[in-house]
Symmetry: C2
Subunit: 324 residues, 2 copies
């Protein structure tokens, strides 16, 4: 029931995922049964989906913690319970981010040694993508939280992107060891002592250069940086329009260049990639954007499958236990 | 003597400024006299510059505070003293940022009510430019420092860009009043109580939309955001090259579109605009990038002139006194 286009987009994405995967996995759709069945009727592959009824709907205006208490039978709570009870291997939602976050943390529990579960975001760079972590989940962080983000990010990137020994950078205001704010300087010390492939402080300009595979920061900075990046396509569109309007030659150029520009801009549209996992909980929970399209939902399901296959949460558990 | 291309670029920029301004102001060049005279010889307009000898040179590898103590006759200290003594109306440098910052604060003094002098950076947006303040001067900030940045930014933008009642936004992780980190939430309260044109919290994506004239944040975030933005031209260049390499048609498109792209990218090259003023000190001190070209130096001098004409530091003094 989560997301702006639910349940239509969710059902469409789920059936597409089944179709593309050729039944490698099965899907349980959780939510108001009659609405889901109605959508399923339109999809030939839909018959393979099980439906689990959940009457309550948490909408975007609800406060997360309050909603979880008053709406006990939301698709979020019911779905995560299925995962907790082992009836599902992973949970995927495009619903209320805060509610999915809270419910996942409460119902699945945090991994031992993890103070703050986190969500990262993949950012395109001049070379291979970089995981920005935390991307907005944890606002005020202590040094040990940044350290945890680095450990979780390292495991995630190495198992899902197949990068051995990912390069970890700590976002700061200069490359020298002495540069940083109070929290980052102490996090630097923790990272330096670890066995992670810590390359040291990185500057804001190093992300797009592809200098690291994981860029670590608190969620306040991560969220602002991410949203700044997401606003670039609109910014350039406006600038190109102004350029095109100047004369006929420019108009022609922009018309011709449009396809190429669109391809590059799509790379910047992080949401396209479809959902981000909540790392640090005892299970697999993927959270998608409220605007998720069927394609995004499909990608989220595939990501969930990968997370399960690579046992990412167990790997994180193992990695963090080295440091406690 | 400051900057990668000193004193050549500085002398060239100064003489260009004199030429363009038609003697509206005079310039005192501060530094090792024989080196400056040698450069001046190459510039016909150079004869109008006075030279003030300063033997010491603070280089980029010096620690700011230590260098100011051991190199008492640096062009930075000598130049700022000229301003302090009223022999110059403003000080401009492309030298060691930290040293200019410290010397300006120590020798000129902070304005009454200002805890932290600040430097902002103008960022292009879809509409009119936005001042991001602080841009890296103050790393760990308390709420009242963010409030001071807002007051100083508001005065700067209204006097120099002629914007009445500039819109002030506080960078945060959501627009709602309740969104933010510990420091920003308290800063929000201070801003809300003020007579500033405070539009509330803004998100990272609101900057390029042109939603505000002044975006307030601490220098840690400001620096990282700014450097992220500065890395965009290189990122897009790489992406365009890859796009062009795909086939002959693409190559042609990119060749044709190159000029337009360059114009748009130049807008993103914040440094082009030439130096930023240190706001909150009792005087006019403009700090430029180490890479400053003659054009950047010239722009810095013009900016200094404007700051003097508009008596920006006196206006800031008046504005902040309302709140203490």
């Amino acid at each position: 029931m989560g997301g702006d286009h639910a349940p239509a987009a969710v059902v469409a994405g789920a059936t597409e995922a089944l179709e593309e995967s050729g039944n490698r996995f099965s899907i349980i759709l959780v939510g108001q049964e009659e609405k889901i069945r109605k959508e399923l009727a339109a999809h030939p592959r839909g018959v393979d989906c099980r439906v689990e009824d959940a009457r309550d709907v948490i909408d975007m205006h609800d406060a997360a913690t309050a909603a979880l208490k008053t709406k006990k039978h939301s698709s979020i709570s019911v779905g995560i319970m299925l995962h907790r009870e082992g009836k599902a291997d992973a949970f995927v939602s495009a619903g209320h981010t805060g509610a999915v976050l809270s419910a996942s943390t409460l119902l699945l529990g945090r991994l031992k040694g993890i103070g703050r579960p986190t969500m990262g975001a993949m950012i395109p760079t001049e070379t291979t993508p970089c995981l920005l972590v935390d991307a907005g989940t944890n606002i005020d962080c202590r040094p040990k939280h940044l350290f945890e983000f680095a450990v979780m990010g390292s495991v995630y990137v190495s198992s899902l992107l197949g990068k051995d020994n990912p390069r970890i950078g700590l976002l700061s205001i200069g490359e020298e060891d002495s540069k940083g704010n109070e929290v980052s300087l102490e996090a630097f010390r923790l990272l330096k002592q670890s066995t992670l492939n810590f390359v040291g402080n990185i500057e804001g300009g190093d992300i797009l250069k592809g200098k690291v595979d994981v860029a670590v920061c608190d969620g306040f900075l991560g969220n602002i940086l991410l949203k700044f990046g997401e606003s670039l396509p609109a910014f350039f569109k406006t600038k190109f329009k102004a350029f095109a309007a100047r004369n006929l030659f420019n108009t022609l150029i922009v018309l011709l260049a449009r396809r190429g520009m669109r391809a590059i801009m799509e790379e910047l549209d992080y949401q396209e990639h479809g959902g981000v996992p909540l790392l640090g909980v005892n299970g697999v929970s993927i959270i998608g954007h409220g605007r998720s399209t069927p394609k995004a939902i499909k990608n989220m399901i595939f990501r969930a499958e990968e997370m399960v296959m690579h046992r990412v949460h167990l790997q994180i558990q193992e990695a963090i236990l080295k440091y406690i």
